[in-house]
Amino acid sequence: MDRYRVMIIDDEKIVGDMAKMSLEREGYLVETFLNGEPALARLKEERFDVVVTDLKMKGVDGMEVLRTVKELYPDTKVIMITAFANLDTAIEALRGDVHDFFPKPVKIRELKVSIERALGSR
């Protein structure tokens, strides 16, 4: 059986590293990116099942990633994380067809549950 593909985009390298470390042990294929542009380029090459992205990034931000993903692959689930947790950005993100929303600091176990649920609900 094919392994699920998960993409992590965050300008903090450690976020991608730690998420990858944990998710790979669960059997996921994980790719990490430090900003939006190369991530979108990679997405155009290949489909991912789940995209976890930081909301606030220089250049292409989380909302733009969300829009492009939904354009390319309507089935792909997007999970948003952000250091700048305020209600407005959360509401904006959720309106834009986001599967889940995590304020930092991220609980990795909860993130894994959220990804599992995202894949199960497809």
Partner: protein, 453 residues
């Protein structure tokens, strides 16, 4: 004023001319009577020679008397019009004629000589009188023509003066307005000192007073605005701090979670690697806290007189290594003979290091760094320029670069450097400005007052 004098002068001249004309007119009236009288005398004279009637001679005598008495009556008017000389000549001609008539009455011999003499005397009298009258008439016409001319010149003169004067008045108003405009420009640039004390008590004086009152009000308002800006930047600060601290905290948290979760399966190297990174993230937090302290409680500036060029030279030693490894050529343009200024050397060095570090980071591919000093534009200040040939700052970011936590460097900066620098320069009662062109470079200009102790 000049116009008024001109009009008055023209008026006086006109009255004088009118008087002269009246005198001449009066004379001409008298002269016309006399001329008629003389004509009648000559007619009687002709009748006498034609018909030999002695009664006509008595008629002539009568007429001579009438003429004499009217000359006597109008003596003053005649003198005024043609002068005493003409009057006495007239009188003598009349007397000659009268004597000739008397001679003819006494010796009515009717010889040709006497006859000719009487005729000549009569002719002379009449010609003199008529010539005088004609000349006076001509003179009168000249006076009238001259009056007309003077009036015409006066009219043009008044008109031209009126135009000139109104031009000068409008010029004066315009120049006053221009000087006030210049004064208000300094206010719009945020200099709320009183503009020039009003010298005049006219409308411009009161306008300047009004502007001064307004300027004072604005100065109070500006203090309020600065206060509210401080509060606003406190808001930005709080949000910025939250964001800046959340990221390293999240990193530590995620590493700790994995460390605990996978402790058994992790090798020794992995465990040490994670903990080293945790340590580095705590340093990051420490750095933010330190910057934050610098920002929130700017240390009291310890101002001491210093030579700015020496301060720059000492700063260059601190950054030389960084410049060398970054493939950056440095050029110094330090003006000799600048006045000493009061500054906190440590703080100014901090500002310069901040600006130079920014410049180096903007020139990741190498480039040219220029640092210069020169007298300031205000005259009582000096200017320090830090110019790089780096990538520049996009115009939309320029208004925010002094805001706390505003950074264009991504992970590289806390966004506090420039805002701390701004605070330090403001503490020195100076000014810091930025100009930048994407792809060309960025120039920071610091202006420090010479007398700021």
């Amino acid at each position: 004023m000049f116009n008024f004098a001109l009009i008055l002068l023209t008026g006086l001249f006109a009255i004088q001319n009118l008087n002269a004309v009246l005198t001449k007119l009066r004379f001409i009236e008298i002269a016309d009577d006399l001329n008629a009288n003389f004509l009648e005398m000559r007619i009687s004279e002709k009748n006498y020679f034609l018909y030999g009637n002695a009664g006509t001679l008595l008629e002539i005598k009568d007429k001579i008397k009438t003429a004499e008495s009217s000359i006597e009556n109008a003596k003053n008017d005649i003198v005024r019009a043609v002068g005493a000389g003409s009057l006495s000549r007239l009188r003598s001609y009349l007397k000659d004629y009268s004597e000739m008539v008397d001679m003819v009455i006494e010796f009515p011999s009717r010889d040709m000589r006497t006859e000719a003499m009487l005729r000549t005397a009569g002719k002379t009298l009449r010609e003199f009188s008529e010539t005088t009258t004609r000349l006076e008439r001509e003179r009168m016409n000249t006076i009238i023509a001259r009056s007309k001319e003077v009036m015409r010149y006066a009219f043009w003169g008044v008109l031209v003066m009126a135009i000139l004067v109104s031009h000068f008045i409008s010029q004066k108003i315009l120049s006053s307005l221009r000087s006030i405009e210049k004064m208000t420009t300094t206010i719009s640039q945020g200099d709320f000192r009183k503009i020039e004390e009003s010298r005049s008590k006219d409308e411009f004086g009161s306008l300047i007073n009004a502007i001064n009152v307004m300027s004072e009000e604005l100065s109070h308002r500006e203090e309020e605005i600065i206060q509210s800006r401080k509060l606003a930047s406190l808001g930005i600060l709080t949000a910025g701090v939250a964001h800046e601290l959340t990221n390293p905290l999240n990193n530590i948290s995620m590493m700790a979670q994995n460390f605990t979760e996978y402790y058994d399966s992790l090798g020794r190297e992995d465990r040490i690697g994670l903990m080293t990174k945790v340590e580095r993230e705590t340093e990051r937090i420490q750095e933010i806290v330190k910057d934050l302290l610098d920002f929130s409680k700017p240390k009291e500036a310890n101002l001491q007189e210093a030579d700015i060029n020496s301060v720059i030279a000492r700063t260059m030693k601190l950054v030389q290594n960084m410049l060398d490894i970054s493939n950056i050529t440095t050029k110094l343009g330090l003006d000799e003979g600048l006045p000493g200024i009061y500054l906190d050397e440590h703080q100014i060095q901090q500002v310069l290091v901040n600006l130079i570090t920014n410049a180096v980071q903007a020139m990741s591919l190498g480039g040219m760094l220029f640092i210069g000093t020169r007298p300031g534009r205000r005259g009582d200040s000096i200017e320090i320029t830090v110019k790089d040939s780096g990538r520049g700052i996009p115009p939309e970011f320029l208004p925010h670069i002094f805001d706390p936590f505003f950074s264009t460097k991504g992970d590289g900066g806390t966004g506090l450097g420039l805002s701390v620098s701004y605070g330090i320069i403001k503490n020195h009662r100076g000014d810091i400005r930025v100009e930048s062109k994407p792809g060309v470079g960025t120039t920071f200009t610091i202006e420090l007052p010479v007398n700021n102790n």
